[in-house]
């Protein structure tokens, strides 16, 4: 899956995902990626978020929605993403996945669990080229 969150020069936030899902899934199965609030979520008044990982588990917790709501309550993107991941981990300790979060003002962060490192990519006006940021899970 790729998950993306963007804010344009007008301050409009959008988010999205595209995926071919899990290998050898039962035909007809979909994961979290196309579910609003799960795979991705966006709200101009706050920002946006996107998630990736074990979609059968993730879609039960709407992690992208939760991350955005945490940012609405004043959490930093890193903290918001961590809260969304922790909500899942508290029920499924062996779950694997990650959440990225971005505020409407361009502050970003991520959190992950169950994989060694999780890379995500950022591009903004402060960088000449895109930057890959890897976080330890």
């Amino acid at each position: 899956t790729i998950g993306l969150v963007a804010v344009d020069k007008n301050g409009d936030v959008a988010a999205g995902t595209s995926t071919n899902g899990a290998k050898f899934k039962i035909p007809g199965r979909i994961g979290d990626s196309p579910i609003p609030g799960s795979g991705a979520y966006a709200d101009n008044t706050v920002g946006g978020a996107a998630a990736t990982g074990d979609g059968d588990v993730m879609l039960r917790f709407l992690p992208s929605f939760l991350a955005v709501e945490e940012m609405r309550r004043g959490a930093s993107p890193n903290k918001a993403a961590r809260t969304a991941i922790q909500r899942i981990v508290s029920h499924y300790p062996s779950f694997s996945g990650a959440v990225i979060a971005l505020t409407k003002d361009g502050e970003y962060g991520a959190a992950c669990h169950g994989i060694q490192t999780f890379p995500y990519v950022v591009q903004d006006n402060t960088r000449e080229t895109s930057e890959v940021i890897s976080i330890n899970c």
Partner: protein
């Protein structure tokens, strides 16, 4: 201080980020950035986890899921289990812009895409067929997502029939779903 425009993307798919940034830096909309950025991954089959020719299902077919959400209007366009159409994120954008719905799935999503002018073509490639053949013939359909069925899905391929978990087989699977080992998620296998 505001740091916009900006785009962030999951995993190490820089080409998608670069495309999205090109659109944003030229004054384009965040919706366009999301659609065009994701399209790059669909075309380049990022790590086999996006687009055609990856993650075959139990029948060897690749199907696609995509979502796009507009944070200004809270409008959503999404497709699930989209069959035989490569441009999943663009079909989702068409759901957003040309319907009052949010989410179309399966063959009906394909029919919608065809009405919108998208091309119908197989999403199976020689690589995805080879991957499926190995899983089915050499790995005996392991791993898979079945439970409480017979024959034992941990050893055999289907077709399966349900196991009577309240009768004589009630102790066959002692672990609850929560306790069972989950499929390994890594950079090459994830939603």
């Amino acid at each position: 201080d505001s740091n916009i425009p900006i785009v962030i993307t999951t995993w190490n798919f820089e080409n998608s980020t670069i495309k999205a940034w090109d659109i944003l830096s030229e004054g384009g909309s965040s919706l366009d950035a999301i659609e065009k950025g994701a399209t790059v991954c669909e075309v380049q089959q990022c790590d086999g986890t996006v687009g055609f020719g990856g993650s075959p299902d139990e029948d060897g077919e690749t199907t696609l899921d995509a979502l796009i959400m507009d944070g200004r209007t809270m409008n959503v366009g999404a497709v699930g289990a989209l069959r035989r159409v490569k441009s999943a994120i663009s079909v989702a954008r068409h759901v957003l812009e040309h319907t009052k719905h949010s989410f179309l799935v399966g063959d009906q999503a394909t029919q919608f895409a065809l009405q919108m002018g998208f091309k119908e073509e197989t999403l199976v490639t020689p690589d995805s067929k080879k991957l499926w053949m190995k899983w089915h013939n050499e790995d005996h359909c392991q791993p898979n997502f079945w439970m409480n069925v017979q024959p034992n899905p941990n050893e055999y391929c289907g077709p399966y029939r349900k196991l009577d978990t309240h009768g004589k087989h009630k102790n066959f699977y002692k672990k609850s779903e929560r306790e069972q080992k989950r499929i390994v998620v890594d950079e090459f296998n994830h939603d």
